[in-house]
Symmetry: C2
Subunit: 714 residues, 2 copies
């Protein structure tokens, strides 16, 4: 895990996702000296509480309170102003009124401070005048090259060096470092999550609240965490994605460095997005889009704080499995069945135990238990303690098993002994071992924590965590094969919807075969076009009419010259009735394509991610959004293949109802090529919708397309 994989495509400029100077970030996170501007002895005040926390948790560097009214604060020499500090501080904590904070930042910058955390609120979150003050902070930080965290944040904790520079409630209890870095955009929620991590004994190496992110954002800080050798697992709580490409670049470095990244992203629904906009001014990112990009980027996307902590628990204490063939040992047949249901639901699989393993289990599993996976050892191991350990070891030794989950319940008084037994199993194999222990007593939980065993209070959580981690590993290779995402994607300026013919010209380089369409400008031409025989589709040709079926602008199965004339006249009439202001070019005439599976290839410019591509089932069923898979363009062939394999109802691809099976390799190659085309036309593509694309074996034909295109700036 520690091996550093060489960068494949990113150049030196791109190696760090962050544009922030690494040294200055080091000064922020590992300061040798901290000035507390507006320091107080009153722990009810923010700055008083920060100072108290720094002292309480044993910060080793210099602490310099600044307050013109005092000589000493909390036993420390107090300085009347920033100018009189003994030297430029590595870090300054500012918790003054908004305008005073701006002045303080300027004074600190002039004094040569490296970094500043502005904890005060009253900035952009309060309205236009606050936003103006926040812009001033940014201006100063850029002008003087001073690193800025916040404003409107709780500060941060670097537990490795006692830098507890926060007024968060989290600092009120003991802080133990661990290999986990947690960065949160929310103060209150972040504090709760950090506290839950502590309650599970997981600890945090870093806990950072980014506040308004006037300068440093969540991605900058995760990026810094990747560079810290003590950090092995990254986690973030995100409300406002900001630049989604930056997220993907950070994910890429994390994947290269073997550091799993767990993100809980909220604000994915329309109401949720509205609430998020009220809260942080975040833009809406559809849930499917975020989760698609996250999956492709080997990010573990956690639904809520419980999901996040369960993933961290598994990562830190169980490690990563080689695959997702789960072996389950249980003392309740029913619990085994419940977990088996979930394994299937999550598209993972229960390992088929080898016959050698079954034979081995037969020797000690009670007759009324079960030898097949999930293995039910019953409660007999309370009388014969060796049964539990033997069963786990048997599964760990089976080459068919990637990961072992054990389900236990209650057994007050046996916890300490069993925890030791489970720790022996964990140490005997490299395969992850996850324990779900229902209604465990506090002493049992303490014993499991002391042994650092990955423990869950519910079988579903253990299964979900194991599968989540396996899915991440599965995504890494194809993610690192993909080209690095663009640093910047210009927004298409004033795009217009192209005519079918113009669209076909633009799509020529996309690699997607298009059904030939010819334009008839009068009924005679229409008649001539269909004369060669067969069935034709007639569609109204107008750049002003987007979805033609909506107005009855499509006639199918047109055969013969007379029908061709009639269809032409009908369509022109329909268009005039429904879209009287539309400019009509005529009617496109297109040979009808054979039956096959209808898919859709899509692309669109997204404010957060730039250009994204979409693959899903086509026709009207494109509306079944749950079936579409998204990714940031461009993608690798491996990623395209994973998107295909992630579509629901896979039997449709395997040739349901008489159509030949889809050639997945050919389709993956084509879709990856399409994604490259999309990326190459950054700044031009606003939206592309190839729908439907008829797929039959290895033949692919796009029947209709909608292209919204912006001309590049002259």
């Amino acid at each position: 895990m520690d091996e550093i994989v060489a960068y494949k495509t990113a150049d030196k400029m791109e190696r760090r996702a962050s544009s922030t100077d690494k040294k200055a970030l080091d000064r922020l996170l590992a300061p040798r000296s901290i000035a507390i501007v507006g320091a107080s002895e009153d722990v009810q005040k923010l700055s008083g509480r920060v100072l108290y926390h720094l002292q309480k948790h044993g910060f080793k560097g210099a602490l310099w309170p600044v307050n013109p009214k005092r000589d000493k604060i909390a036993g420390l020499t107090c300085y009347p102003d920033i100018a009189s500090l003994p030297e430029a501080p590595d870090l300054a904590i500012v918790a003054l009124a908004p305008d005073a904070s701006v002045a303080a930042l300027k004074a600190l910058a002039k004094r040569g401070a490296s970094a500043c955390a502005v904890l005060s609120s009253g900035f952009a979150e309060t309205g236009p005048s606050g936003a103006a003050l926040e812009r001033e902070l940014v201006k100063i930080s850029q002008q003087y090259n001073i690193v800025l965290l916040g404003p409107n944040g709780l500060g941060f904790v670097n537990a490795f060096n006692g830098t507890v520079a926060t007024f968060s409630q989290y600092a009120e209890r003991e802080i133990k470092p661990s290999s986990v870095a947690f960065v949160s955009q929310s103060g209150a929620f972040g504090t709760a999550i950090a506290s839950l991590a502590r309650a599970r004994g997981l600890g945090l190496g870093w806990f950072i609240n980014t506040g308004n992110e006037a300068a440093l954002d969540v991605w900058d800080l995760l990026d810094a965490a990747i560079d810290d050798d003590q950090i092995k697992v990254l986690a973030a709580y995100v409300e406002n994605l900001g630049d989604g490409r930056k997220m993907v670049r950070v994910a890429r470095r994390a994947a290269e460095m073997g550091k799993p990244l767990v993100i809980t992203k909220v604000g994915n629904s329309s109401r949720g997005a509205a609430a998020a906009a009220a809260h942080t001014g975040a833009l809406a990112t559809p849930a499917r889009l975020f989760s698609g990009v996250a999956t492709r980027s080997a990010i573990i996307s956690a639904a809520d704080e419980r999901d996040m902590l369960n993933a961290i628990e598994a990562l830190v204490r169980a490690g990563e499995p080689a695959g997702k063939r789960l072996g389950i040992v249980t003392m309740s047949g029913g619990a085994g069945v419940l977990m088996a249901d979930l394994v299937e639901q999550l598209n993972a699989c229960l390992a088929d135990l080898s016959s050698a393993t079954v034979k081995r289990l037969q020797e000690f599993v009670p007759r009324f238990g079960s030898l097949s996976n999930p293995v039910d050892i019953t409660a007999q191991f309370l009388a014969q303690p060796e049964i539990l350990e033997q069963a786990i070891l048997a599964l760990q030794d089976d080459p068919e098993v990637d990961c072992v989950i054990v389900w236990l319940q209650m057994m007050d008084g046996h916890g300490v002994r069993l925890a030791a037994s489970l720790a022996r199993c964990r140490d005997a194999s490299k395969k992850p071992l996850l324990i779900s222990w229902i209604a465990a007593s506090p002493p049992t939980l303490a014993a499991l924590q002391a042994e650092r065993i990955a423990t869950f209070d519910n079988g579903s959580d253990a299964v979900r965590a194991a599968v989540t981690i396996a899915d991440r590993l599965d995504a890494i290779e194809s993610f690192l094969d993909a080209p690095a995402p663009a640093l910047h994607t210009p927004e298409p300026r004033m795009p217009r919807i192209l005519s079918v013919e113009e669209g076909a010209v633009r799509l020529k380089d996309s690699g997607v075969p298009l059904a030939i369409a010819e334009l008839a400008t009068d009924a005679d031409q229409a008649e001539a076009l269909v004369r060669s025989g067969g069935f034709y589709a007639f569609k109204i040709a107008s750049a002003d009419i987007g979805h033609k079926t909506d107005i009855g602008g499509v006639i199918l199965d047109v055969e013969g010259g007379a029908a061709g004339r009639m269809a032409f006249d009908k369509l022109i009439e329909v268009a005039k009735v429904h879209c009287p202001n539309a400019s009509i070019d005529g009617v496109t005439v297109q040979k009808m394509v054979p039956e096959g599976l209808e898919l859709v290839f899509g692309a669109r410019y997204d404010a957060a991610f730039g250009l994204v591509v979409m693959l899903g089932y086509g026709g009207v069923f494109v509306e079944l959004l749950g079936s579409a898979e998204f990714a940031l363009a461009p993608i690798s062939v491996g990623q395209a293949r994973r998107m295909i394999d992630a579509l629901p109802a896979q039997s449709l691809l395997d040739g349901a109802r008489g159509t030949p099976p889809v050639d997945r390799t050919a389709l993956a190659n084509l879709f990856a090529r399409f994604s490259e085309f999309v990326a190459e036309n950054s700044g031009s593509i606003a939206e592309i919708d190839l729908n439907p694309i008829i797929v039959r074996g290895d033949t692919v034909l796009a029947v209709d397309w909608l292209v919204s295109w912006a001309e590049p700036k002259p």
Copy 2:
């Protein structure tokens, strides 16, 4: 909730779902005397532990140990055998070896005992010889009319009268009665769930493990719980559904009596299940089928034990909301966003607060909070304690709000005060109040429990519980409008797949309009049939060929006599090549139908439920499993309407892409009528698959159908 709703349709025979005599069940659950057969003082032995638990928890009736080797056990007179008992016991506990248990049951029955719980294992769960012994138990219980619980169970607890007749670990700690009855098919898992209920302070009135269910099953005991006035909420953990109709009958009585029923059903995955030959057989995955029937039956279907306990927590401590318009108060904007996302995902809604409420909130919510739902009051209420209570009351008073959820975190030291404040809010309104409190300290949790406030450790859980309960209430009326399910559905014997014409005859009474199809037995007839003009669909006609498109047995868009001849010859040829042994009747010729939304109506005989109906999107997209809704036939119009409204991608029904919107009322009437037809043909219908059905406005036309029909016994 206490009002008894009169039975609407069920006759007296059907009023109780259970066939077991109510009086005898009373003797089991509220015995005046208990004989412990094979009693022991050794609490390591099952019977010793049961006796110990009965004494420890203060069972008030007579306890009669039976053991020929002892005079006294645990201070009680011990009887040498069953014959010498002072009188016939209401209940006997038997925990002897399997064959001795059979003998004991017989002796007890002869002695006149009312009920017997056989705790011993070694019966059907161990194989054929055990199963034979179990059959003997059943025979004796039927012959002598003695109620039988088990074998291979933990026994049960009736906390109202101290009948702790179990060796479960659950009995080791304090048992407090509550209005919840919990019946479990699993001993180990059931014990864990019961213990979790205790840990939350919820308590259980009844905790019953049904073991092998040789006689009494989970439905009999839930049915008995409905009759107990002290029980208000029913919960069950189910692995083996048994008779699904019985479940629905119990659900019906529970709905009539206003007692919510929560079920966790495991064993829903298809692993190990043989792929069904018929296509829709594979469709009807048990998970979808169970959840469909449960939803229609106003059963709360809980995914696992956590879901179950959360639903119970909300039912017992918060009560039932009038609708699903949620109002959320939070001290973290981010948490509000997360919950808003989930509300949308669960098809519930965030209440649109009235302007009066917003005005009221404006007076005290801090400027950096949020006045729209979710209402973010920030942490300011720690300084101004009245803010929290005022915000909750404002939302409770708003007629737009059905239920209030509050999100809090940590705040060690404020728990007791806040719990009192929340209790005041709860008492001030009839609207349910649910609290999610993240990382609460143990004293806070204790204070919330003491105030009996519905508490969740996670915001998602609170939202899910609230929506779940609202969904149940929404289902009740249409459920009680539906005819009672059949007591028994005969399995169709040797069904055969009908020809299209035969199928059309059978379906005549279903109410579903069918596209007219005529049979051509030679090319001349085919030519004649298409002569009237327009486009036709040609399909091979053979009872031996199920899914015709699979072999290319369908040709669409046939126009004109010559094309008709060619299509006929082609289809006959294709059928001969692919199905050389099929008996071919000819080719059906059917006028092609206009474009519209493709749906499917399905029906099939299910071993657990009898006849079930299915509604979903049609065409090849019938494969998109998540889109189908199931119900036990027959259903009410209201239930049909709910199934329509539960389909995903509702915009398809609203007339996406140019098709006129589906007339939901007409469709609901038709589908309800179809379900009646299905129920009326019990014993005949093995499977019906009307796919596709083209729906356009209020016109409906089935284009193709597969009917598998059994002739009734002569």
